[in-house]
């Protein structure tokens, strides 16, 4: 017997929660199915103990070994956080020059709140340009695009910035974001930010560097409340500055100040909706153009079925596409409809990202444990003048990181490797670093590291795609996601330009000790890395032959199936994607109110 709801929403993160919030408050009967656990902040538990801890071993756990048959990194080490999936239970496999590797990259977090529990909270809007890159590039001359791929594959979004703008305001208000409006390269109809906290003093170098380059700067918008947040009823400590802690990026917040979709949206209306954590959806079942049943397993593995007038898939791009493809495997009708355009899984995107990093010189040293994830940002490298001068197809945001290398274990395990697949490697391999040399390492790096990052648009390519792996199965016996990704020559060119600007910010800010810079394409596992920004693969558009979803995120050949995580994006935007996923989900949620 299927339980009946107005809406069944699969996933409780940035793409699912805003829709659940909108529909539940409109009196609709909403079921959220979330694969991960419901981990609560202190104030929501009787004994006032949170499931999130300020504990470095929670962010990056103890060693496990990859035991997935057929992987080139079989028996390799990996270290996942307590809310990331176990790679042996549910690996993502990516193809590196014909060889398969299991990777932890490309997972956000499996927990109520999804990636918003774990992220650094950077909540930038995309620019109007980001949403109109096809029209922008008509008639322009681009570097490093010998085959004309960029112009051919660039797409405009079916929704303009002006249409999205009120929903950005809604997201900033309802989620709870601090930051400043002035100097941002986007139009704001109103300032919905909370007041930012004092920057970490190490960031003054970034301030100087950006100023010296004439890069107008603003305080990086961060999803952390700094004032009492009326919409969610959350209160800040007597001294809001105490919210600053390096236990921020990759940590759930035991105090609930970081604005995850759980604490900001869902917890306040917990009694108005049905939330089933620890529930993994195995497949969707359709009759004709309607998805009728959602099949899932509960925490004990029992088979359950739910039905909704509408079904929203928001499991983060890779897992959403996998779920749709798994459903298609079981039913030719579902298969024909979801693959009507042949584009499902194609145009998988992450970001062109990277940056520069160095150490401030003696005698300077700062307490980087009192920080949020970032202090200063600039849109200077998203301006038309900047792009025209360098023949770039699209721009990006640049911001500094303050929470990196801030705690003693993270300093060592990210030494020489910033990503999840290669974490610890450089420290482990450098066996000479011991005793006095370890003292020297700490002397040189503790409280001294300063990084500047960029987050820019990646060229969409049909060959970058998500499929089902032919042989590897998860713990439920279902095929896992298989990822194919390459960097386009223009991506490489763009990353070099941006990495150089990041390095220049540090140089002009007089931070040059150990200065290094580069784009992600240079990394050992460059083909896997994605900054956990997993986008595209089910892009929305106005032409059913050129997209998977319509402008309301509805799958073209279904009457009641929506995909609202980052999979909908035709281009990846020149900024971290979470706020845009949230804004778009509020927009879609508002439309759905009238459809159930």
């Amino acid at each position: 017997m299927a339980e009946d709801f107005d809406a069944v929403i699969i996933g409780s993160g940035a793409g699912g929660a805003p829709i659940a919030w909108t529909l539940a408050r409109a009196g609709k009967r909403v079921l959220i199915l979330e694969k991960g656990p419901l981990l609560r902040p202190q104030r929501q538990r009787r004994n006032q103990l949170s499931d999130f801890k300020r504990d470095e071993i929670f962010a990056t756990g103890t060693e496990k070994r990859i035991k997935v048959a057929g992987m080139a990194n079989f028996n390799g080490s990996y270290y996942s956080s307590h809310v990331e999936p176990d790679l042996n239970d549910e690996p993502h496999v990516y193809n590196k020059n014909g060889t398969d590797f299991a990777t932890i990259e490309g997972y956000t977090a499996q927990v109520v709140g999804g990636g918003t529990q774990l992220y650094g909270g950077v909540s930038l809007r995309f620019t109007p340009r980001d949403l109109a890159l096809r029209s922008f590039n008509e008639g322009r001359t681009l570097q490093a695009d010998g085959n004309g791929d960029v112009k051919r594959e660039a797409r405009d979004w079916p929704v303009s910035y002006d249409e999205l703008e009120p929903w950005y305001c809604a997201a900033e208000t309802l989620i709870g974001v601090n930051g400043t409006v002035a100097n941002q390269g986007k139009r704001f109809s109103k300032d919905c930010y909370m007041k930012p906290l004092q920057p970490n003093p190490i960031s003054k170098h970034v301030e100087q560097g950006m100023d010296a380059l004439g890069f107008a700067r603003y305080r990086t918008p961060l999803a952390v409340i700094t004032e009492d947040h009326e919409p969610s009823g959350r209160k800040v400590p007597a001294d809001p500055e105490t919210a600053k802690t390096a236990y921020v990026n990759r940590y759930g917040d035991p105090l609930g100040l970081k604005s995850s979709t759980w604490v900001s949206l869902l917890a306040p209306i917990e009694t108005k909706l049905t939330l089933r954590p620890n529930s993994v959806v195995t497949h969707l079942e359709a009759e004709g153009a309607a998805v009728r049943r959602v099949h899932y397993r509960d925490a004990a593995g029992n088979k359950k079925v739910a039905a909704g007038k509408i079904v929203v898939v928001a499991c983060s791009a890779i897992e959403s596409i996998r779920l749709l493809k798994l459903s298609a495997l079981l039913d030719p009708n579902f298969d024909a409809r979801i693959h009507a355009s042949g584009l499902l899984g194609k145009y998988f995107l992450t970001h062109a990202f990277g940056g520069a990093s160095a150490q401030v010189s003696a005698p300077e040293r700062y307490d980087k444990s009192q920080t949020l994830d970032s202090d200063w940002a600039t849109d200077a490298c998203a301006s038309d003048a900047f792009l025209d001068e360098r023949g770039l197809w699209a721009g990006g945001a640049i911001y500094n990181n303050t929470s990196d290398r801030a705690l003693p274990i993270s300093l060592a395990r990210t030494h020489g490797s910033q990503d999840l697949d290669t974490i610890w490697n450089a420290f482990v391999n450098d066996t000479s670093m011991t005793g006095q040399k370890l003292v020297d390492f700490l002397d040189g790096n503790f409280g001294r590291g300063l990084s500047v990052s960029f987050m820019a648009n990646q060229v969409p390519l049909p060959t970058n795609r998500i499929e089902l792996h032919p042989s590897v199965k998860d713990k439920w016996g279902r095929p896992v996601a298989y990822i194919e990704k390459r960097w386009h020559e223009h991506d490489v060119y763009l990353m070099n330009v941006f990495a150089d600007r990041c390095a220049e910010i540090l140089r002009r800010g007089r931070v040059t000790d150990g200065l290094g810079s580069g784009g992600v394409y240079m990394a050992e596992n460059a083909l896997a890395r994605c900054a956990n920004h997993i986008l595209g693969g089910a892009r929305f558009g106005t032409d059913p032959k050129d997209s998977v979803l319509d402008r309301d995120n509805r799958a073209w050949e279904f009457e009641n199936l929506y995909v609202t995580d980052g999979a909908f994006m035709p281009t990846s935007g020149g900024a971290n994607p979470t706020l845009t996923i949230q804004a778009n989900a509020f927009r879609v949620g508002d439309t759905l109110k009238g459809r159930v």
Partner: protein
């Protein structure tokens, strides 16, 4: 008799769904921690998390809370044929007096097949236990930790936070490990030695009571050996074999290099030479037939040593947060303020954050 705490079904199910529930029972999680390749626990992800050892806090909060853990025992019953009654007996209570486990219910109040109980137990202890399922005593089918009792029986085992009782290593192994880790850490410089002496000696009585109640100085560099002893018993049990083989080989190598000298009297230079050779993966006298790569062992040892020195003291290293305090005192900014005010973010009595309870 240990206090039974109220059972939080949601809390327990958060562990069950992720780690226990599955259709596939191939041993995809056995990376060496189970000698038998077909050990059914090899199908369970992070089986070491059971029983669940967590922070304890009384509902209104009390100064005494930090002395205890909440320990949750979970029995995975079959949904089709759940046992009628399951209890747990162990060295934390009377062995004839099983504490009953309660059915874990889902949000709709339906029994899930899992049974569980949460006990309030002192920190700093190791215990053995068994479940009694419908009158039959069985080891925990999930927890990988087991130990042989004096009577020859094998029972399940766990330890609480800040446990200093050795569970993995013998005395001679601890001695060698102590010297090896000492060489890796940054605490051998004179400044660091002075700091640590001062840190331990100057801790006032109150501090000693709250912070070293179980983990006093241990005569080890910030308790790292104790951390490793616990890590290879639990989270990284797959590396216990590396230590067992390599500590024996190191003992053989150094004994032959310092004939007639007692193990405790081996000089610093003997370790430095060995260490450099391990880094080169070429140790004269090392039996590579027993263990192929001394460098590989050194890599594991360095990661464990550094982690132990600077991870939360609950894991058994970083005693009294001495590792953090060393960084706090050593690293200062231009104006003299510390570059690591770690107490600000952490729970009392370890830290001074009034809002966070650990």
């Amino acid at each position: 008799m240990a206090d039974v705490l109220p059972l939080d079904d949601e809390y327990v199910l958060n562990f069950c769904g992720k780690y226990l529930a599955r259709d596939e029972f191939d041993t995809r999680h056995n990376y060496g921690q189970y000698p038998n390749p077909n050990d059914p626990r090899g199908a369970i992800a992070e089986a070491w998390r059971f029983p669940i050892v967590d922070t304890f806090r009384s509902e209104s909060g009390s100064d005494d809370d930090h002395r205890y853990n909440g320990v949750t025992f979970v029995y995975p019953g079959l949904r089709e044929a759940p046992p009628k009654s399951v209890g747990v007996v162990g060295t934390f209570g009377a062995l004839y007096d099983a504490v009953p486990l309660q059915p874990v219910k889902d949000a709709d109040g339906q029994a899930t097949g899992y049974l569980a109980v949460t006990l309030k137990l002192l920190k700093g202890e190791a215990h053995t236990y068994r479940f009694v399922a419908d009158g039959v005593a069985v080891n925990d089918p999930v927890n990988p930790q087991e130990t042989r009792l004096d009577n020859g029986q094998i029972w399940s085992r766990f330890f609480t936070h800040l446990c200093t009782q050795p569970v993995s290593f013998e005395q001679w192994e601890l001695e060698i490990l102590n010297r090896l880790t000492d060489h890796i850490l940054p605490f051998r410089t004179r400044d660091a030695q002075n700091f640590l002496s001062r840190f331990y000696d100057s801790a006032d009585k109150d501090n000693k009571r709250t912070q070293y109640a179980h983990a006093y100085r241990l005569d080890q560099p910030v308790g790292v050996v104790n951390f490793i002893d616990k890590l290879v018993a639990r989270e990284e049990a797959h590396h216990l074999v590396d230590y067992k083989l390599c500590l024996r080989l190191i003992d053989d190598v150094l004994s032959s290099r310092r004939p007639g000298v007692a193990r405790t009297a081996w000089d610093k230079e003997a370790y430095i030479e060995l260490y450099d050779q391990m880094g080169q993966d070429s140790v004269p006298g090392w039996n590579t037939g027993v263990y192929g790569s001394p460098r590989y062992f050194l890599q594991i040892l360095r990661r464990h040593t550094y982690t132990g020195a600077f991870s939360h003291p609950k894991y058994g290293g970083n005693v009294g947060a001495a590792g953090w305090a060393y960084l706090e005192e050593t690293y200062r900014g231009v104006a003299g303020a510390s570059a690591f005010d770690w107490r600000r973010a952490l729970e009392p009595p370890l830290g001074r954050c009034g809002d966070y309870f650990g």
